[in-house]
Structure formats: structure tokens, C-alpha cells
Symmetry: C2
Subunit: 446 residues, 2 copies
């Protein structure tokens, strides 16, 4: 399919065009820039998307979520963490069937698209036939799908990773499978090493269809170092979990750590020295009372930090526009410096840094040769008038629901209030059926 996006602000990583144009052929961007120039290359057979008065940006990237947990958004808010997990989340998760995991991912994919997100990185339980990858594929969202690993079920989890790699990695040019050790306090040191080697093996074997990365959680809970040390009888040098992982030899540029809230200088050095990537999840970190990651320090060190929402059970949405704004606001207030994480940096975190965090080349920008993942924003609502600086507007003013059109891998998925080629109501029906069943099964226990 050929698409010509005509007019409107065009925001690329290099430049802002006041009147831009983009040409797409199949799943690739073939031209992007000033409208007058781009127009010259428009031949026959291009579908035209009129974007004058709108804004064209790279599709946003959510570098950390648990997309199937969209089923649990708002299920249990305002509880202490342990009560939240033990009394609410784990009991209902225990009732999940493979189909529920797929349905939750479909719902989360719809939400992501509606909010201008074109790629997510997710981490959850896996079943060969129905899982997060199958759910994303049914909707058509690009995803890096981590398969969770815990020490107490490691054999099954590793079988799942191998199964997922052979079955879903590279599918439709949209899915990449990732190795997903849950966290230092749930994965023993030997298993970390085994998984690091597994990733390397997988990358060599399946890398032609896309890089295989590790996605995990590190330094989310303030007590995590202590718990890890006690549970696995290991020494955490000066309480630095990243130093501990570094000593295990598992840190490298394909290691994506979510949260990274409680960081000493040792942590930051280990992250930097190994070119580890960070996913910053400010909303979940705040909502669960976990803390504020000093990402201004990481950015100053040149460390790649992408943005994540975490699962909708602790957010309760998949809104990367909201995350951009809160990221910038939080760093300004903890530093007392209003110049901290300016709009341009927050925008990069939601796009090109997100791509780098996932080791995913070809997304996060609008330029020839890049994958055609594009979001178009309607600027007609009163809260978007006037406009002085489009990128500042993007971070501080534009709301996720201002998104007007979303293109993923060259396909129009959402346009002017409607999902294209997706039966939304049938997804909602499935969601409601799953939720009713889960609630009745959980109430049977209580």
C-alpha cells in the first residue's frame, strides 16, 4: 500500500517542518520532509491522508508494560503494595486462562493505538497458543514480547522462551520475543547467567528477524537489595543491584532494566559502563509509592532512557503522552530546576530513545528507510491553541486522545475516530466475558 501524508507540522528527530509531507510504500517510509519537495515524488496509487493543520510525529514507544494486565486496570487501587499483590492481583492472575492473556493484550493494543503508541515492550506469562504476542498480532501492534522467568518455574519458563522464539519471533514483521527474567529478587544468580547466555544464543539463531533482548525489572522496591541478598544468600555490593548484576557478567547493551529507581553512583557507573538501557516508569512508581528515579542523572551521563507505563493495574492506562509530561515535571521538581528534562528530551525518550532502549533500529523517527510507524495529531481542540513551539506543545499540552490517525508498519490502524479493519466491539465483548468469569472465580475463593 502507498500512502501520502500531506501537510501539517512534521516532527522528525532532526527538524520540525511547518508544512511537511511523508510518503510510505508498503511498510517503509520512502520520503519525508518539506511538503513542496515531497509532493514532487507522488505518483499514482497513493492513498492521501490530509494532515494540514495537524501534526505528524513518529509513533510513540512504550518500553515497559504488562499488556495483558489491561484486564485488571482499576481492579484494586489505593492499597498497600503487599496487600495489593497478595490479596488482589495474584489471586485473580491465578485464574487467568491462556485466552484471557490474549484478550487482555488485544484490549491493551487497542488502547495503545488509540493513544498514538505504535510499539510496546511487554513482559508476562506465556502459553504457546494464546499469549501476548498472539494478542498483539490480532490487532496489529508492534511488540517486543518478554517471556517471564522465575527461579521456581525456570524449566517451564525457558521452554516457553524457546517455543516463543520459534513460533512468534519475527511474525508479520511486528513481533520480537525477549528473554524476561523477572527481577533480581525472583531470579537466582545462576539463572541470570543462564538467561544471559540463552539471549546470546537466541540472538545468533533468530537475530535476522530482529534482535533478541533481555527485559526485566531492577531496583523498583526500596527493599529489593535486602530481599535479594537474603533470599539467594548473595552479597549485593554496597546495596547496588546493578553492580551485583555486573559482577555476574550479565549486563550489556541488550539489557533493558525497567524502573531503576533506587540508584547509587555504583549503579549508575555499572549502567553506563555496560551501555545498559533503562525504561523509566514514573506513573507506576508514584502510584505504588516506590520512589522517584533520578533519570536526569542518567540522561546527563548519556545513558539511554525510554519511557514505560508499566501494567495498567498500576497506572491505570497505557498513555505515553501523559508519561512524557510527568517525566519532565518530576525531574524539574526534584532538582528544583525548570530546565531539567526539557520538552525535546521528553519527546526523544518517548520515540528515538525508546527505540534504542529496545535495540530496535528503524523505529522512533520519520525518515526514508524507517518503518512506517506514524501518529497524526488533530490540533483543533481549544487546549491546543495557540501554538508557539510544536515540540513543547507535544509534551505539555497534547493529550493522548488528540491522536487522529495511527499507522503501523505501513497500515492505517486508526483514523478520525475509527479503528480500521478491527472489530472493536467483539474485543470488548470478549473482555467483558473474561472479566465476569475471573471475578466470579475469585469471589468463589473469598
Amino acid at each position: 500500500m502507498k500512502i501520502f501524508i500531506e501537510g501539517g507540522y512534521l516532527i522528525t528527530q532532526e527538524k520540525v517542518f511547518k508544512e511537511g509531507g511523508v510518503l510510505i510504500e508498503d511498510n517503509l517510509i520512502v520520503e519525508a520532509g518539506d511538503l513542496k519537495e515531497v509532493k514532487k515524488s507522488v505518483g499514482r496509487g497513493f492513498e492521501r491522508i490530509r494532515a494540514n493543520g495537524k501534526m505528524i510525529i513518529p509513533g510513540l514507544i512504550n518500553t515497559h508494560t504488562h499488556i495483558s494486565m489491561t484486564l485488571f486496570r482499576g481492579y484494586a487501587d489505593d492499597y498497600p503494595l503487599q496487600e495489593w499483590l497478595e490479596k488482589w492481583i495474584w489471586p485473580i492472575e491465578a485464574k487467568l486462562k491462556p485466552e484471557d492473556i490474549e484478550i487482555g493484550a488485544m484490549l491493551g493494543a487497542l488502547e495503545s493505538i488509540r493513544m498514538g503508541v505504535t510499539t510496546i515492550c511487554t513482559l508476562y506469562h506465556y502459553h504457546p497458543d494464546h499469549n501476548e504476542a498472539s494478542g498483539l498480532l490480532r490487532i496489529g501492534l508492534r511488540g517486543v514480547v518478554g517471556i517471564a522467568v522465575f527461579t521456581w518455574q525456570k524449566d517451564e519458563n525457558i521452554r516457553n522462551i524457546k517455543n516463543a522464539l520459534s513460533r512468534w519471533h519475527g511474525r508479520d514483521g511486528l513481533i520480537r520475543v525477549a528473554v524476561g527474567p523477572h527481577a533480581p529478587y525472583t531470579v537466582d544468580p545462576d539463572l541470570w547467567i543462564e538467561l544471559s547466555e540463552l539471549r546470546k544464543w537466541a540472538d545468533e539463531k533468530y537475530g535476522d528477524s530482529g534482535r533478541v533482548i533481555i527485559t526485566t525489572h531492577v531496583a523498583e522496591d526500596p527493599n529489593e537489595a535486602k530481599i535479594t541478598s537474603e533470599r539467594f544468600n548473595v552479597k549485593i555490593p554496597n546495596g547496588s543491584l546493578f553492580k551485583y548484576l555486573d559482577n555476574l557478567g550479565v549486563l550489556n547493551e541488550y539489557f533493558l532494566a525497567a524502573h531503576a529507581i533506587h540508584l547509587s553512583n555504583d549503579d549508575i557507573k555499572a549502567i553506563k559502563d555496560n551501555n545498559v538501557k533503562i525504561s523509566h516508569n514514573p506513573i507506576s512508581n508514584m502510584k505504588l509509592g516506590m520512589g522517584i528515579s533520578p533519570i536526569y542523572k542518567l540522561i546527563n551521563e548519556g545513558i539511554i532512557v525510554g519511557l514505560g507505563t508499566d501494567g495498567p493495574a498500576s497506572n491505570n492506562t497505557l498513555d505515553i503522552f501523559e508519561t512524557m509530561k510527568i517525566t519532565s515535571l518530576l525531574q524539574k521538581v526534584i532538582t528544583g530546576d525548570p530546565t531539567s528534562i526539557p520538552a525535546r528530551t521528553a519527546f526523544k525518550m518517548a520515540t528515538i530513545y525508546g527505540a534504542k532502549a529496545l535495540s530496535y533500529s528503524g523505529i522512533g523517527d520519520i525518515k526514508p528507510g524507517y518503518l512506517a510507524d506514524i501518529t497524526i495529531i488533530n490540533l483543533s481542540n481549544p487546549h491546543l491553541i495557540p501554538i508557539y513551539d510544536p515540540i513543547s506543545h507535544l509534551v505539555y499540552c497534547i493529550r493522548s486522545l488528540d491522536v487522529d490517525t495511527v499507522i503501523i508498519n505501513g497500515e492505517i490502524k486508526y483514523h478520525e475516530g475509527k479503528f480500521i479493519g478491527i472489530d472493536v466491539n467483539s474485543v470488548y465483548e470478549k473482555v467483558n466475558k473474561s472479566v465476569s468469569r475471573l471475578l466470579s472465580e475469585v469471589s468463589d475463593i473469598g
Copy 2:
């Protein structure tokens, strides 16, 4: 006009109805509750708003903004505070004509309505013919309009307040004029006392058309006590600005202080003892790097705290949904306690506590005898599925642009994507004209 809102979740301060109904006659709510009951009273001549599958809530209340500054949203982001003020905001403000103030207020009123806000409290410069009150009236937004007072222009400012009271107070049942001393560091002690007496006099003379309150800024900047002390050669006891104001005898239940970030126990005691009201403005406080107000302490003390956005030049929107969520998130993260400011409290802050903060009876709830200020939310977007707890949904999931219908003082102002009885494009044209002129005049200086 008679309106029957039929079906949908109905959220009142007392109760959540799963299938609710509301009857409005003229500008008042005459019945609200379970749909089956309410239906019995529907006679002839009711306009019907179908709200099944939607959510009916009290119109939201923004207790602090500078609504005309909507013209400057995004004009100068990511600058240090003094540079922001001196190099950017003040020079362009100096070029404002009275008509610009009115036009900015009209734009801000449109934005507020689009986002489900039905009452604002604003504070700005005044001109008898064209001002924030006249702008709000042209759109039909309810407003408490503070007239700013500074020591160095006090005679003119006090004349303005008296003029505004006689000309605008009570107009259309929508406008109340408030006395607006700017802040402790810009208003000398004698003037504080004079303005406190002026408020009392005005309340006695004009109170039949609505209470007259004081709206001001206190303890926004960390250096404010020091600056105040030096500028006016006064002692600020232990650095407590509220104690200082208490000693002047100007604190009482009609005193609304915005920001209140830097609070000692002395401050909190002075606030509580005098039943002072607080407007919490977390987004502006973060964006300017001013600090985080410990409002969980105030709430625990039973102090009334409403929510504010501050002016769009430091936010950059008038979005009270966003403010509710950030309020809750911020207190959870600074206390490390995920139960802090739960959804129900944040919702009250945006509604009934907001009403109390403005000493405005008859708004902030949906019940017979209250003014018909109502917001209806469309729940059909994927990020609002499923629903477990409507109030939690309201705070953590619903976005301002999910607002579907807004009724103010019994009039439908916005319905299903369209402003009713308002020529939006003519407002936008005026805004663009004002902005072009202002920018050209500012660039003439540079």
C-alpha cells in the same frame, strides 16, 4: 429550560448510582438518583440527554488559574523562573490590551468546558470594559474573578475592585468578584489589612449576589519569606508566611491561598486555626521547579484543599482530570504510601472541596437544590474498559477529552463534540490576531 439526563453511572458525593437520572429545571437540579425513581417525575417539555453507558459527575472546579494567560500557553517553556518572568512573560504581558485579556479568558473558558470544568477561580489584571469576567460571560463559564493588587499600583487596583464589584459581581448568576492581593512579597502589611477590610465591606454590600473572598498566592517560591522580609522590612516568624498573615489579622475562612508549598507546622496551624482554604497546583509547582506541597498533611488535619491548574503559561493546560491524578500520585510517592490521597479524596478535591475552597455553596455535587453544573463522560474508548470502580476510573483512567457533555447553570454548553451556542472559530480568529500582534510588538523591543 428543563433537562432529563437519563441513565449512566451517576456520581454524587453521597453515593454512586449504577443507573442514574438527573432532572434540571432552569439553572437548578431538582432531582437526582436512581433512574427508576427519577423517571417518575419526568413530565412534558424535558429535553432528554441519553447517558446510558456514560458517567454523570458534578462539574469540575479549578480553584486557581490566570485564565487570560491561556494566550501564553507554551510561549516560553523550560526556562529558569527569573528568566521566564523577566525575559518572556512580563514583556509580553506589558503589551496586553484590555481586549486581549477578554479574548484569553474566552479561549480558557472554551478549554475548561471542553475538559469538563464548570467553575474556575482566576486572578489577573482588570480593565472596566474588557476583562476576565467579560470573557467568561461571553462563553458562559462560572467564575470567581480575582482582581489583582500590588503595593506599587494599589490605588488603581482598589478602584478596579470596586468597579468590578459594581459592574460584574453576580452577573448572569455566573460571576463573582474576588479581592486579589498578589502575594506576601508584593503586598505590604498595611495593604493586606486594608484589603481584608475591603473584602468584608464588599461581602456585606454585595454578598446577596454571592460571597466575596480573597484569592492570593502564598508560599510558592522557597525564597518567598526572605524576599518578603527584606522588601517590606517585616519579621516573618520562623519563616512562616501564614503565621505572618495571621499576626496581621487577615486570615479567615474566606481566605483562599494558592500553592502553599513550603509549610512548617506553624504554617499548618495558622491555616487550620483560621479555617483558611488552600488551592493545590501540583503541575505548575512541578513545572517551575517550586516544590511539592505536603497536602496529605493538610487533608489529615481536615483543612479544605481544592485543585488548581495555575495559568496555562506554567502548566500548559487547564486540565483538572490530569491534576486529580497527579495530585494523588505525588502524595503517594513523597509519603511512600500508596493509600495516600486515594481516588475518592482526589475526586472530592476536584469537586466539593473546590466549592468549599471558593466559599461557593450550591456547586460541587449533584443533588436537589444545587446549581445545574454537570459533566458527562463517554466511556467508550478502550482505555476505559473494563470498569471495576467508577471513582477510581475517574481519577486514574478518564482523560479530560473523554468529556462528552457539559452543562453550566442549566445550559448545555458542549455536547458530543460540539460547543452549543458558541462560535468557536470566531474566538480562535481573535486569539490568533491577538497573538500575532503581541509577538510582533514584543519582537520590536528585542
